[in-house]
Each structure stands twice: as C-alpha cells, then as structure tokens.
C-alpha cells in the first residue's frame, strides 16, 4: 500500500505532549487536542475529561476534510486555519505539518490574537517532531524490526475480540 503506517512512539509522544502543554499555558486555553487527519485522536491536554474526545476528533477531521474539499473547489490548496466563535467557548483549528490537526478550545480569558500567535510557534515545534516521527517509522518499517505487536496474532486472538 502506498500509505505509510501512522505510528506513535513513547519518545515523540512525550515531546508532543510537552509542546501542547506549554501551548495550553501560554495561550490560556481550556483544552488542546491533536487529531490525525483521518479522525483519530493523537493526544489531548487540559480539561479533556469534560469532552467526548473520540467524537470531537472524528468531527474535527470531517470538518477539515469538508473545508479542504471547498478549498479545492475554489482553487485553494487548503484552508490552514479555521475559527469557530461561540457564545462562551471558541475553537481554533489548524493544520500542522500538512497532516495533523491542532484544536485549541478557549474562552474570554484568552483571545484570538494570543491563540494565533502561540499556535504559530507551537506548530513549528510540532512539525519538527512529526517529521522525525515519520522518518523513524519509515526506517523501522524498512529494517523490519518487529516489535510489531501483531506479527504473532492468531485467529483466536481475533475471535476473542468479538466474544
């Protein structure tokens, strides 16, 4: 298949969380999520337990996909930033490094200007980490270094999932 496997390792996971935790503080945000463009949650910090994070990830990805489709129709590559303004809470959604979605939820204790500024800096840091992650994944795949958990999977393992 032409698509690289999306993976996450401990080391990069910690680095990514450090960046978004810093962003949470510096942007005075309530919650921050990182979502894969396919709708899978990568990580979240802040008041995550107040939200249905799985649904949030899926709808965010759908939202980005739909606006990306709109962008193409009018001859743009994509809209790299979306902003949704609510009565109390606002969503700032941006694309990081072409493949990951960064979602920042904030209220009147912060401002769009501040969030934009901090997101820009954090995006650069995240892009570096994700680039490294992709390279690492490719190398591991090539070296067929099988700490891969499913290499030894049996029919019974699969059947047990559905019992």
């Amino acid at each position: 298949m032409s698509y690289p496997q999306m993976v996450m390792y401990d080391e990069e996971f910690k680095q990514i969380n450090a960046v978004i935790e810093k962003l949470l503080r510096e942007a005075n945000a309530k919650v921050i999520f990182l979502v894969d463009k396919n709708g899978q949650l990568i990580s979240g910090v802040g008041e995550t337990e107040r939200f249905d994070t799985t649904s949030l990830a899926s709808l965010t990805a759908g939202n980005i996909a739909a606006t990306g489709g709109l962008a193409k129709l009018i001859g743009e590559k994509e809209f790299s930033i979306l902003f949704h303004e609510g009565e109390k809470d606002n969503l700032h959604i941006s694309i990081v490094g072409g493949r990951v979605i960064l979602v920042v939820l904030f209220d009147s204790r912060s401002s769009l200007g501040l969030v934009r500024l901090r997101v820009k800096k954090a995006s650069e840091e995240l892009t570096v980490i994700f680039d490294r992650l992709m390279k690492k994944a490719e190398e591991k795949e090539k070296s067929s270094d099988t700490e891969f958990p499913f290499a030894e999977i049996t029919d019974d393992d699969i059947d047990n999932l559905f019992s």
Binding site: M1, S2, Y3, P4, Q5, M6, V7, M8, Y9, D10, E12, F13, K14, D36, K37, N38, G39, Q40, I42, D52, T54, S55, S58, L59, G62, A65, A66, G68, G69, E141, S144, T146, F148, P149, F150, A151, E152, I153, D155, D157, I158, N160, L161, F162
Partner: protein
C-alpha cells in the same frame, strides 16, 4: 490507514460502510450500537438530513478489547449513499482500512447497487487504493423482503472476485455482526503482514 500508538498501546482502524442510498448502512451501525456493551462503545454520531438520510457520515467508535496488550479500536463510518453526495463519499474514504459494501437485495435496486460499486472502486482508485487489495467484504441486505434477487445473481453482479459475503437483515440484525467481524478480521490479518 490504521494508527498504531506504541506510547498509549492502542491501535485504531477505520471501517467504511459503502452502498447505494437506503440500502441499510446506517441501520447496520445502529444495530451494532444497540447490541454493544456501554463500556465498549462511544457515542454514535449521525450527520443526517431531517428525513434521516445520511448527509455527511455516521460514526461509531468501538473499543472491543486487547490483542497482545494493545487496545484495539474500530472506527465505523457510513457514507451518504445518494448519488449527488459523491464529494462527501470521497472524503470519508480517506485513510480507510477496510470496506463493507452493503447491497440492497431488492430487484429494483440492482442498477443502483452496480453503480455504487463502480463508484466505490473509482473513488478508492482516486485515493490510491485498489479494491482488490484492501480488506473488503460484501453484505446482501434486506433478505427479508419479498421482491429480492437470487443469491446467485447478486454474486455474479456484485462479487465476481469472491470476497467474503453475507446475507443480512439489518433491521433485525441478522448477519450484521458476522459482516463486521469478517472485515475486522481481514484488517487485522492485513496488519499482521505489516504492509
């Protein structure tokens, strides 16, 4: 494409239910939702029109259990079957790991089935996938209705490559879990190969 998280020891796979309008894709997900234990499922999201036709997608996350210490999650999506929602269908196919084609067994829907299957193959190709190479199963739905096409004919028209196939009645749930289980299994076997 599946997402393997070694840090949180999770693996996520995306399954898309495809097929013509009103063939029963949303009903499949609703049945799975009803019959799954609360701790194993998340909220089902349906982005639908006022007449309950799928507008963008349905989404149902399932966390079925662990394999080799990895939490295994399946994200089930349906596409909108109505012909004019093609742009949305393409978006939902992005990153797909496995496809269920739901056919409507009624005679008068045969043309719609064939058209939808061609549309599936074409839209996958556009994303760089080959329907003959990805985990893929076929479900013949609405077997409870009187005016249905024979199994032989459905097979001939819709399953020439002989992928796993299931007769179903999504409203009563017959064949629904068999279908899901089969595609999930193909996905995990595919993962095992390590691509």
């Amino acid at each position: 494409m599946s997402f393997i998280n070694y840090a949180s020891r999770e693996i996520n796979c995306k399954i898309v239910y495809y097929g013509p309008g009103l063939c029963g894709k949303t009903t499949n997900l609703q049945f799975v939702y009803q019959k799954t234990a609360p701790e194993a499922k998340g909220k089902m999201i349906s982005l639908a029109t006022e007449t309950e036709r799928t507008l963008f997608f349905d989404f149902l996350p399932l966390a079925l259990g662990e394999i080799r210490g990895f939490k295994t999650r399946f994200h089930l999506y349906t596409v909108p079957g109505q012909v004019f929602y093609d742009a949305s269908r393409k978006l939902i196919l992005k990153g797909v790991d496995g496809v269920v084609f739901v056919a409507d067994s009624q005679e008068e829907r045969m043309d719609a089935n064939i058209e939808s299957l061609e549309n599936l193959r074409f839209n996958l190709q556009e994303q760089g996938y080959d329907l003959d190479k990805i985990p893929y199963v076929v479900q013949y739905n609405k077997r409870d209705l009187p005016n249905i096409v024979t199994l032989e004919e459905l097979r001939r028209e819709l399953n020439p490559t002989n992928v796993p196939e299931f007769e179903a009645c999504a409203t009563t749930g017959e064949g629904v879990f068999e279908t899901l289980k089969s595609v999930a299994k193909l996905i995990l076997i595919d993962l095992k190969k390590g691509r």
